[in-house]
Subunit: 191 residues, 2 copies
């Protein structure tokens, strides 16, 4: 039931914006009693944050199969698909609009922070297991997701699994190659 309520809330947020979210509409769409929504989420901003977080986690899950390369390819592929989907596009517009409002901005920043933490935790685990050399997980996260976001935003063509594969192959090979040189850059002429 919890999941059905969050799905209904995300659908309504995509349609009406964050400011327009009403508990009675969430209850109706989720086909639950309104008190079930109030009991689980007495705080409206928590409902919003949980709904957006659940949408992102469902649409672009980050697994731990024990193979960081494979998990990141899956993640980037689903991330791009989620961003390009109609609901993903609506939610991005809604989130961009929410950033103009200080209170709503805090909510969307929290969602964004939770999402980044999931990725950073997964990268940190891979470093601990020796699958990746020591690297700031925040920096590596940006190297991986930045190109995907730019690609999808430009929208020249769909971001395919082959693209996800190539981003991961190049970035992870680069991380490993530069670490092999003792953490120093292997760039000539720029030191």
């Amino acid at each position: 039931m919890r999941h059905r309520i969050l799905e209904a809330a995300a659908t309504l947020i995509a349609r009406e914006g964050i400011g327009g979210l009403r508990y009675d509409q969430v209850a109706e769409l989720a086909e639950v009693n309104k008190t079930s929504v109030y009991r689980n989420w007495p705080d409206r901003t928590t409902l919003i944050a949980d709904a957006l977080t659940a949408f992102a986690a469902d649409a672009a899950p980050l697994h731990d199969s024990g193979d960081i390369d494979a998990d990141l390819v899956d993640f980037l592929e689903t991330l791009a698909a989620a961003m390009a989907s109609p609901q993903g596009r609506s939610l991005q517009s809604v989130v961009a609009a929410a950033r103009e409002n200080p209170e709503l901005r805090a909510v969307v920043d929290e969602v964004s922070g939770r999402r980044q933490a999931t990725l950073h935790d997964r990268l940190r685990t891979a470093v601990e297991r020796g699958e990746l050399p020591a690297i700031d997980p925040r920096f590596l996260g940006e190297l991986l997701t930045g190109p995907v976001q730019l690609f999808v935003t430009r929208g020249a063509r769909a971001f395919t699994r082959a693209d996800a594969h190539q981003v991961c192959a190049i970035v992870l090979a680069g991380v490993r190659a530069t670490a092999a040189h003792g953490g120093e850059s292997s760039l000539p002429g720029t030191q």
Copy 2:
């Protein structure tokens, strides 16, 4: 004089938006005669496109020193600084707003296309000189600039020259390492 007019136009666009650009204000700010603006740019959209292109080229130039690694570090560092500057931020909001209007969208898309072409041409030249292995310049451009855009948008801290250096070091090492494996990915378990 041409440059002074374009600078004045970019300043006014950052302040008032693309729709609000007026030739008499451009002339006044550039301290030239209004006919000088009309004679050089009889078409208003060309003035807008040229002003935005000139701003970007001045703020984040892409040189050809013969050393692609060094030129890209300089480029990413200045790109981040330009995006984070007050005028750069204003122009990004203006450009985002312009995308909602079909006619203005065509202008900002043209500017974006010109900018990308400059980067792609520079990368293509580096491939021809054997500084980089054969790679789609569009894809490589996204690997390099995507992380910078994400970093600046998140705004947790300033993007430094050391960051520019690390992005280039990792991405270019990755491109070279994956090409060394015969163009195939070196990722295990994801084929």
